[in-house]
Structures are given as structure tokens and as C-alpha cells.
């Protein structure tokens, strides 16, 4: 068909050319601008999110997960949860402290595309609710709550200033005997080193007995209390000073053998 058109085109061009050169005629109108693009141009595609994933999908607190995505046809890719603007293809490690859904928004000339990736955070079970106080053992009660009672020189009576200690000891001992109905406590009587060992053997016995009597009068079961005197044979200090003497003049509590 080309062969047939050509002679027409050649002819047209000759006509125009001749017309122009031959004589003064009305110039031809300038070529028209191309026609404007119509409003309803055929639409571009929205950004294509090939994938937006989290790996692994379940972590425990403190463990990382890896977000990965690939987006095409986007001019802007954002991920929420403070990640922000990212490149269209990428990966990011996250450390969520609770189950989190990450939202990716891809914006492009074709529109906006969105995708979600969820990281589930499992946590170890929380600690059991706190008790108001841990339960002490009998040995702890004996060591810490049942305190020594002290005496004046050559005396075995319970002093006024030791009454509070006796009462505290009575309460603690009653607790001990409730915890273990078979438990028996020995009250040891001791003396300072100045008197004779012979007299002190008997004086220590008086001190243990007086302490036992005082506890019985406060309701401590007497059959659970034994007494023994160590006289001045078991001092807890040996300095020749009033402070040490006073510490040695004591009734002390121990588990019965």
C-alpha cells in the first residue's frame, strides 16, 4: 500500500511548495499544539507490596524479630511503631515488649497500599503474688526471736528490765511448740567468771529455773522446757570487764538434745 500512498504525499508536498513559491498567498495556519491529555487518563497501578513479614512471629520478651518487606511502585514506604520511613525493600530487627502489629503504608502515584505484620510476645508467667511475710523455721525463731535473759551479780530473779524479753520469748516459744508438738527447748543457766565454779554451778541452775518458771506463768507448756546449768564453764567472752561479765550472766535457749 505504501507505494500507492507515496505519490499522493509527494504530490501534496509539491503542491504546497509550489503554492508557496509561486505567488503571495494567505500563510497556512501554524501547526496546532498537540491535543491536551484528557482528565481520565488510563490509571497507573498502586504500590505493590510483595511481602511484609515478621520472622519469627512469636518471641519472648527481649528476643528480636525481623521485619522484612518488599514494595514496588511506591514513592514512600512507612512503618508505624516508631520505625518511620524506610526504603522500599528492607528488613529491620524489632524488640517488642508486648504483642505488636506493625503497619506498613506504601504510597505511590498509583495510590496507597498497606500491610500488617504481627509479632506475638509470649512472657514467662508472672511471680506468684507476694506473701506478707515468709514463714521462719523453728531454728530461726530460736536463734533470732527467743532472746537471752540477763541477771544481776549473785542473783537469779528476773529483773524488771527483762520482763519484755520474757514476754517476747514466751510468744515465740508458744509458736515453736505449735509448729512442732514434739519439740523441746533447753534453758541453759550461765554465770560470770568471778565467783567460784562450785557456787556458780548451783547459781546457773537457779537462773535457768527462774526463767522456766516465768515462761510457764505466761502459758508456755512446762513439759517442753528443760533446764541445765553450765555454771561458768561456757562463757561467751573472757575479758575481765563488767561488760563481759554482764553478758555471761544469762539464761540461753537451745534445742534440747
Amino acid at each position: 500500500m505504501m507505494k500507492q500512498r507515496m505519490p499522493i504525499a509527494v504530490l501534496a508536498t509539491l503542491v504546497l511548495g509550489l503554492s508557496a513559491g509561486c505567488h503571495k498567498k494567505i500563510p497556512p495556519p501554524p501547526p496546532q499544539a498537540p491535543a491536551p491529555v484528557p482528565e481520565n487518563a488510563p490509571p497507573s497501578t498502586k504500590p505493590a507490596i510483595s511481602y511484609f513479614t515478621a520472622e519469627p512471629t512469636t518471641v519472648t520478651v527481649g528476643q528480636p524479630s525481623s521485619l522484612r518487606w518488599s514494595v514496588a511502585d511506591a514513592t514512600s514506604v512507612r512503618i508505624d511503631n516508631a520505625i518511620g520511613e524506610v526504603s522500599p525493600n528492607g528488613r529491620r530487627g524489632v524488640y517488642p515488649t508486648a504483642t505488636t502489629t506493625y503497619h506498613l503504608t506504601a504510597t505511590g502515584p498509583g495510590g496507597t497500599s498497606e500491610a500488617d505484620a504481627t509479632v506475638t510476645v509470649s512472657s514467662p508467667p508472672p511471680p506468684a503474688p507476694m506473701q506478707t511475710a515468709p514463714q521462719p523455721t523453728i531454728q530461726e525463731i530460736l536463734a533470732k526471736q527467743v532472746q537471752d535473759v540477763h541477771f544481776d551479780y549473785d542473783k537469779s530473779d528476773i529483773r524488771a528490765e527483762d520482763q519484755a524479753i520474757i514476754q517476747g520469748d514466751a510468744g515465740a516459744l508458744k509458736t515453736v511448740f505449735q509448729m512442732d508438738a514434739n519439740f523441746v527447748v533447753t534453758i541453759e543457766g550461765h554465770c560470770d567468771e568471778r565467783g567460784s565454779a562450785e557456787y556458780n554451778l548451783a547459781l546457773g541452775d537457779r537462773r535457768a529455773a527462774a526463767t522456766k518458771d516465768a515462761l510457764i506463768s505466761l502459758g508456755v507448756p512446762g513439759d517442753k522446757l528443760k533446764t541445765v546449768s553450765f555454771g561458768k564453764e561456757r562463757p561467751i567472752c573472757t575479758e575481765a570487764m563488767e561488760d563481759c561479765y554482764a553478758r555471761n550472766r544469762r539464761a540461753h535457749f537451745s534445742a534440747a538434745q
Partner: protein
């Protein structure tokens, strides 16, 4: 005035010179008792001579410690020392020789000043078939006896091992034989029981009266203390925590084995004292509830009955070893501990100690005339010294002073010595002294040693 002064000075000087002449001689420790001289013995052989220093000093110590004689110091002896009866015979034969021989071989030389001896001991040591032998004699120097045979009180041979302990043994026997002539009691065979912690725990120990042969009796690795002994020398009683509570045990001093004893059910049983026949005891027990009281029982603990009910602490009962009918003890009935006397039934109670300070650890002399005890008289609590009291007149003499804390005096069977514990600094040791407080010396050194009791030789 000048003449008066000169005259006074002259007479004073004269008196001084005269007095000096009278002062030369023995200061008699035991007035009226015989004066005895024992010369140093020498020896023949190779080993025996090395033992004689020990032999001589042991004889001297035993004689000096006795109340029945006065031992004359060796500085007053004549220059020539006789060794055998023949020396004395030679001396007699030379009596009228001219020039006069050096003094010493004649008994009269010893009778004369400065020695002024009533008796003379002579002798020598030797070796015989691997043993140490001592030929020893005692002579009277009384001038009315001119026959040497009659003048000899005794002559004996003592045989012992050829070593230091043999020398000590032979010396003890020779000295005992001398003292026996004058009514003195021998200490040979007597022992001391005591408490020692040298093994790491308080145990009961025994030793000879001179501190030799210290032996452990108990091995409880607990607290074993407060020993006492039966008058027949066979049993030691003590208190031990081996079962968990202070309880009484008896051991045989013959076999070293435990003897049966019944302890009453009580938080405390302690402080045993035997009757003179060793068949019964008095002790302290808390069996009756309340403060420790005195009980009487058979020596094995059976048949017990209470003898005091003072309501106060009663401890350390000691039965009179001469009469067996009264007791002294330590009681808190008037406040701080004091010493009381009562009869064996617990009646007729009277306080013996003065009532000041704290008086404890009473111990009877063998003849029941005195008690030795520990007292804080005039000092702060804990500052104890040994005192001796005449139980009739209550006259009291102090025997220790400014020499540590002195306690638990115990009388020797001859009534002439007191054994006791002395704590100086942090350590307690056992010492012995003459009953008048002189001649103090220690018997122990290892660990802490205390609570000595002098035990009679076994009957």
C-alpha cells in the same frame, strides 16, 4: 651531854654484838622440835654420781617441809663430811689428836655450834647390778651416848632404778624414814587428783604428790570436774556433763575403771564428800526442786535422804575427816557465799566465815582442827586468796597475797602441806606450799590445771 651520848652508843654497840652472837644458828621453824642435819651424799660409779644432786635436794625439800623436825641449813655444817660409820669411828679415835683434826668426823662436831644438830644423816650412793643403791644412816648426836652403835638410829640400803626418778624415789623413802622417827607421816604413795584441760577438754587427772607421773583418768571429751577422793585412797568422785547434765561418777583409782553410782533425777548432782570409813557420802543435788541442797547416801548413791532445807544454795559439803560427825559447806543463805558448819544431820548450823566478801572451797585439816578456804577478803569479787582458820577460835591466817587468784586448797595427809590452784594471767596451775604459807612451788605447767585434791595412800 656528850659523855651520855657516847655511853649510850657504847652500850648499844655492846648489846648489838651480844645479840649477834645469839642470832647465829637456826631460826627454828618448829619450836621445840628436833634439829636434824643431813649432809650431802656423794657416789661411786659412772651414773650414780649424776643422780646425787637430785637425791640430796629431794631429801632436803622433804625434810624442810615437815612440821615434826627442823632441818638445819647446810651453810652451818662442819667442813668435813662423814660418809660411812667408819668415818665416825675414825673421828672418835682422833678425838684427842694434836693438832685437832678438821671438824666434821666426830658427832660432837655436829652437836656443837654452829650446827647444833640433835641428829645427823650420812651416807653415799653407788651402782649395783644396774641399780641405784644408797647406803644411808641416821645418828643421834646426844653427848651422853659415846658408843657409836648405840648412837645409830638406823642404817638402811635403798634400791631404785639407776635414773633421776630412781634418785627421787630413794630420797623420798630415806626422808620418810627419818621423819617417821619423830612421828612424821610419810607422803609416799599419796596422790593428787585434779582437773586438766591440756587435751582440749576438762578431764580428771592424777599425779604423785610431788608432781611426777601425771596421768589422765577420764576421756569423756566433755566437761569433767569437781573431783574428790575417798579416805581409803581407792575412789575418785567427780561431776561430768558426759550425759548432758552435771552428774556424779565414781572411778576406781586402782583399776581406772568406772564404778556404779546412782544419780537422782535432777538437773544437777555434784560435790561428793566421803565419811571417814569411805562408805557413805554427802553431796549437793537439785532433786527436790529449788536451790541445790545437801543429801546423804551410800557411796554408790543409793539410800539417799536430804539433810538441809535452807531454801538457799548449799554446795561443797566437806565431812570432818577426824570425827565424821560434822560438816562444813558453802551456803548462800545470808547473801553472798559464806562457809557454814553443821552436824551430819544438818542441824546446829553456825557461820564460820566472817561474813564479808565471798568465802568458798573449805577443806578440813586431817586432824579436824583447821579449815583452809578461799576468800575475797578486802578485795573485789574474784580476787581470792588462801586462808587457814582454827575452827574453835576462828583465828584466821592469810597464806597467799598478790600472787594471782588462789583457790581450792587441799590439805596433805600429814597436815603439813596445802595444795591449791593459782591463776596468774590467763592460766591456772597447781601449786603446793607448807601449811604456814612458805615454800610455794608449782607442780604443773601444761594447759590449765585446777581443783587439786590430796588423796591418802591406799589403805
Amino acid at each position: 651531854m656528850r659523855i651520855l651520848t657516847v655511853s649510850i652508843s657504847f652500850f648499844l654497840a655492846l648489846a648489838f654484838v651480844s645479840a649477834r652472837q645469839q642470832v647465829v644458828g637456826t631460826i627454828e621453824k618448829n619450836p621445840g622440835k628436833p634439829l636434824v642435819a643431813v649432809a650431802d651424799f656423794r657416789a661411786t660409779g659412772t651414773t650414780a654420781p649424776t643422780l646425787m644432786a637430785t637425791f640430796n635436794s629431794t631429801v632436803q625439800n622433804d625434810l624442810q617441809g615437815s612440821p615434826v623436825i627442823n632441818f638445819i641449813p647446810k651453810t652451818l655444817y662442819p667442813l668435813r663430811i662423814p660418809q660411812v660409820p667408819n668415818d665416825l669411828a675414825a673421828g672418835l679415835a682422833q678425838a684427842n689428836a694434836k693438832p685437832a683434826p678438821t671438824p666434821g668426823f666426830r658427832l660432837a662436831d655436829w652437836y656443837a655450834p654452829p650446827a647444833k644438830a640433835n641428829y645427823l644423816g650420812i651416807g653415799y650412793g653407788a651402782e649395783d647390778r644396774g641399780l641405784f643403791v644408797v647406803f644411808a644412816y641416821l645418828y643421834t648426836t646426844a653427848p651422853n651416848i659415846t658408843d657409836l652403835q648405840q648412837a645409830q638410829v638406823f642404817g638402811k640400803v635403798y634400791t631404785a632404778s639407776l635414773d633421776q626418778s630412781g634418785a627421787i624415789d630413794a630420797a623420798h623413802h630415806y626422808a620418810a624414814d627419818i621423819l617417821a622417827q619423830f612421828g612424821g607421816q610419810s607422803l609416799i604413795g599419796t596422790r593428787i587428783v585434779f582437773v586438766s584441760d591440756r587435751t582440749g577438754a576438762k578431764e580428771i587427772w592424777t599425779m604423785n604428790w610431788d608432781g611426777t607421773d601425771q596421768k589422765q583418768i577420764t576421756k569423756y571429751n566433755s566437761i569433767s570436774t569437781f573431783p574428790s577422793a575417798s579416805p581409803d585412797g581407792r575412789i575418785v568422785a567427780f561431776t561430768t556433763y558426759a550425759s548432758g547434765y552435771p552428774a556424779i561418777q565414781l572411778f576406781s583409782l586402782d583399776t581406772g575403771r568406772k564404778l556404779p553410782f546412782y544419780n537422782q533425777r535432777a538437773s544437777m548432782n555434784a560435790f561428793v564428800s566421803f565419811t571417814p570409813d569411805s562408805k557413805q557420802i554427802v553431796f549437793s543435788s537439785t532433786a527436790g526442786s529449788g536451790a541445790a541442797q545437801l543429801y546423804m547416801a551410800n557411796a554408790d548413791g543409793s539410800g539417799f535422804r536430804r539433810i538441809t532445807s535452807s531454801g538457799a544454795i548449799e554446795v561443797e559439803a566437806k565431812i570432818n575427816p577426824k570425827t565424821g560427825t560434822d560438816i562444813v559447806d558453802v551456803s548462800g543463805r545470808s547473801g553472798l557465799p559464806q562457809i557454814y558448819r553443821m552436824n551430819i544431820e544438818g542441824a546446829d548450823v553456825q557461820r564460820l566465815s566472817a561474813g564479808t566478801g565471798e568465802a568458798t572451797n573449805p577443806s578440813w585439816s586431817p586432824d579436824g582442827s583447821h579449815i583452809a578456804f578461799a576468800w575475797t577478803k578486802g578485795f573485789e569479787p574474784g580476787n581470792y586468796n588462801i586462808f587457814v582458820m582454827d575452827v574453835i577460835t576462828k583465828d584466821t591466817t592469810q597464806l597467799t597475797a598478790a600472787e594471782g587468784r588462789n583457790e581450792n586448797p587441799g590439805w596433805s595427809p600429814d597436815g603439813a602441806h596445802i595444795v591449791y590452784a593459782s591463776k596468774r594471767g590467763r592460766q591456772s596451775q597447781i601449786w603446793v606450799m607448807n601449811a604456814d604459807g612458805t615454800g610455794k612451788h608449782p607442780l604443773t605447767s601444761a594447759g590449765n590445771n585446777e581443783k587439786p585434791v590430796w588423796v591418802n595412800a591406799e589403805k
